[in-house]
């Protein structure tokens, strides 16, 4: 499942980040690394960015980037 398809207020595990994602390095630095648990906190209206909780901090990423992040649900 892609991160954009995830539902609000739910936690997921980051599985992988698609190749060719310009922001890959930045995502890593923000703590969005395969294996890490993230929570979708908010979505801005009109296809705006997503706000995630990573490691106790709030992180905002654009929807284009979010559609290149693969996640899986926590059992």
């Amino acid at each position: 499942m892609k991160l954009v398809e995830g539902s609000l207020d739910k936690s997921y595990i980051v599985e992988s980040i698609d190749g060719g994602c310009m922001a890959k390095d930045r995502l890593w630095k923000l703590g969005i690394i395969p294996g890490v648990v993230i929570k979708i906190k908010r979505r801005a209206p009109l296809k705006g960015p997503l706000m995630l909780e990573v490691n106790g901090s709030d992180v905002v990423i654009g929807r284009g980037i979010a559609s290149r992040i693969n996640i899986k649900e926590i059992e």
């Binding site: 310009m22 922001a23 930045r26 690394i33 706000m51 901090s57 992180v59 654009g62």
Partner: protein
């Protein structure tokens, strides 16, 4: 003199620390050949004076935008003696990642562990001594906002040493890194990068580090390492695990329950509906305070300068030319102070407040989608909103934007927003003589033109606008001292930039009148004015308008040979007034704005903007001339 560079991730309190160290006597400067700005100042370390450089915040040494790139390049340069790495103690895990990268630069390094109070509030207790031992770097706990720990930090800077430790990855990973590093060293490919760091970044897939290796003998070890380490993911995960491990060793977390104030605030301010309402109310109140609070102060200043004018008129009667020039200078200074103190000071103070409280990145979140269509980010709304006051500070706020493309687009669009001077023309001419409905229509047209121009510029300009990826800081209460210092830096910039322009403008104006050059100017522009269907005597008014926009209204009736403003409808048709106002809104920015644009994005882009706005204004004026002709008559 020692040079100290302050480096840290965004929102770590770097600028606050800088203000504590260097105070109000700091200067902003541009990186050579770049439009990215940094601040520098001086501080005493014991008896010795040292230069302090406040570099733009960066998450890591592999950059994502222009500002981060300049930070990294500055760190590589020879003349930095000590690096002070500021960490936000409340987000320690992420902060240490940058520290580990900085260690590989092998320069004297001190870690300033900032926001110890906030960490405590979050229930995080950090053992500083232990952190120091693990990192092999001196760590000083500070609370920059309150000025705590600064003395110890200065002491640590004085005796700063190169990091003691080096290898941080597992044997298997180090094997691949070292193999590539040796190849880079043997072939002299590293350029300004430390070879090991370059190897790591290349394996992680960072373009600027991979590219020099592409067509060399190092291509094979790079390919091998990237394959074995899963395109660098293994390194990243190991580093992250290392940071987590360090955190667990040095910190104890006692969970504090209860719904925090932040959650409540965010649920309103970031709400899909109420968030926008709050945003509107916040900006509305800022404008209300600035414009209503500013008027009496402005009148006071104008009154004072009018007295000086009257005094000059009575004393210098025999020297007409000297009188003209002196009056020009006095008027220019008066105009500058009339804008700077009543409007700019409170406005910039309030914008700094929004920034430091942590509201600006949240607006970015709300508006990102709309702004993205114009090649911009949510944060670019600030130059636009500021533009309704005065274009000069609006252009100055484009400094907070990261990429050059975004800066050029924002500067162009912000200069199109009708500032308070152009508002007097819209209201005084179209509003008063044709109807206020038409004035509001003009504002609507203006917004549409700005959005369309943004979309066109996004397509035309080279470069991609990277998507938003940043962390949102918690709400923080800034200190008055920090806010005042920040405001002061910005007002100082305005004074240095705008005052000479306004003075020069006023002097030129008085000289044109003194030597009766009006008719010559009108003659030259006659064909152009005829094209727009306007009387040729208005040309000189438009030239004066470049110096100061409000003059386009104040001088209009004189230029038309009338005795007062109220007689304008006798000479100009409503159609002509409308076309004239459209032209005034969009044509060439005023001279102080041009100077500001030049400072932010350079001469070449400024000339494009100047020509671009002139073309845009001409086309729109023609379009409305034709449109109105078929509708009105």
């Amino acid at each position: 003199m020692k040079t100290i560079a302050l480096v840290g991730q965004p929102n770590c309190g770097k600028s606050t620390l800088f203000n504590q160290l260097a105070g109000y006597k700091s200067l902003s400067a541009n990186f050579p050949g770049a439009t990215v700005e940094y601040t520098k100042g001086q501080t005493y370390i014991g008896e010795e004076i040292a230069e302090v450089i406040d570099l733009p915040g960066t998450y890591s040494l592999s950059w994502y935008d222009d500002a981060e790139k300049e930070t990294v390049r500055a760190l590589f340069s020879e003349h930095i003696d000590v690096i002070v790495n500021i960490l936000d103690a409340s987000t320690l895990v992420r902060s240490i990642e940058l520290t580990i990268e900085l260690m590989s630069l092998e320069k004297p390094l001190v870690v300033a562990l900032n926001m110890m109070d906030e960490a405590l509030r979050k229930g995080i207790y950090i053992n500083v001594k232990k952190l120091e031992d693990i990192l092999g770097v001196r760590v000083v706990p500070i609370i920059a906002k309150k000025g705590k720990g600064i003395k110890d930090l200065l002491e640590a800077i004085k005796t700063a040493k190169k990091p003691l430790k080096r290898c941080v990855y597992s044997k298997e990973v180090e094997k691949y890194i070292n193999k590539l590093k040796e190849c880079i060293e043997n072939n002299n490919l590293s350029g300004e990068w430390p070879p090991k760091l370059m190897a790591i970044k290349a394996i992680e897939g960072f373009e600027p580090c991979m590219e020099p290796l592409e067509n060399s003998t190092c291509r094979a070890p790079l390919k091998e390492a990237r394959y074995a380490l899963r395109d660098g993911l293994v390194i990243v995960q190991e580093r992250h695990a290392l940071c987590m491990d360090i955190f667990e060793k040095v910190a104890v977390v006692k969970k504090k329950e209860k719904k925090s104030l932040e959650t409540i605030l965010d649920s309103i301010l970031l709400h899909p509906f109420f968030g926008y309402i709050s945003m509107f109310l916040i900006f509305f109140s800022i404008f209300y305070v600035v414009f209503h609070g500013g008027v009496p102060i402005e009148n006071l200043i104008i009154g004072a300068f009018d007295k000086i004018d009257a005094f000059l008129n009575s004393t210098l009667t025999s020297h007409k030319l000297i009188l003209a020039i002196t009056r020009g200078v006095v008027d220019g200074v008066g105009a500058a102070f009339g804008i700077a103190f009543p409007y700019l000071l409170p406005f910039l103070f309030l914008i700094s407040l929004l920034e430091d409280v942590g509201y600006l990145p949240r607006i970015g979140f709300l508006l990102d989608s709309t702004m993205h269509k114009m090649g911009l980010h949510g944060t670019s709304i600030i130059p636009f909103v500021s533009g309704y006051g005065c274009s000069v500070p609006a252009i100055m706020t484009t400094r907070i934007l990261k990429s050059r493309k975004e800066k050029i687009i924002s500067a162009f669009l912000a200069s199109l927003v009708p500032c308070s001077a152009r508002t007097t023309v819209i209201m005084g001419l179209v509003g008063y003589f044709i109807g206020y409905g038409y004035a509001i229509l003009l504002y609507g047209i203006n917004i549409v033109v700005i959005m369309v121009s943004g979309m066109v510029l996004k397509k035309l300009l080279p470069g991609i606008s990277p998507e938003m990826a940043l962390d949102i800081p918690p709400y923080r209460l800034p200190t008055i001292k920090t806010l005042l210092l920040k405001t002061w830096h910005k007002v100082k910039d305005f004074i240095f930039l705008a005052v000479p322009m306004l003075i020069a403008g006023s002097v030129v104006l008085t000289l044109i009148t003194y030597y009766h050059l009006d008719s010559t100017i009108n003659g030259v522009f006659k064909p152009f004015m005829a094209l727009l269907g306007l009387p040729s005597s208005i040309a000189v008014v438009l030239i004066f308008g470049i110096l100061k926009k409000e003059l386009t209204l104040l001088m209009l009736y004189q230029a038309l040979g009338l005795t007062s403003l109220s007689q304008i409808p006798k000479v100009l048709t409503p159609e002509q007034m409308f076309v004239f106002t459209i032209f005034v809104i969009f044509y060439i920015p005023c001279i102080a704005t041009i100077a500001a644009i030049k400072k932010e994005i350079g001469l070449k882009a400024t000339s494009y903007i100047t020509v671009g706005t002139f073309t845009l204004a001409t086309l729109l004026a023609l379009l409305f001339k034709v449109l109105l002709h078929s509708v009105w008559f």
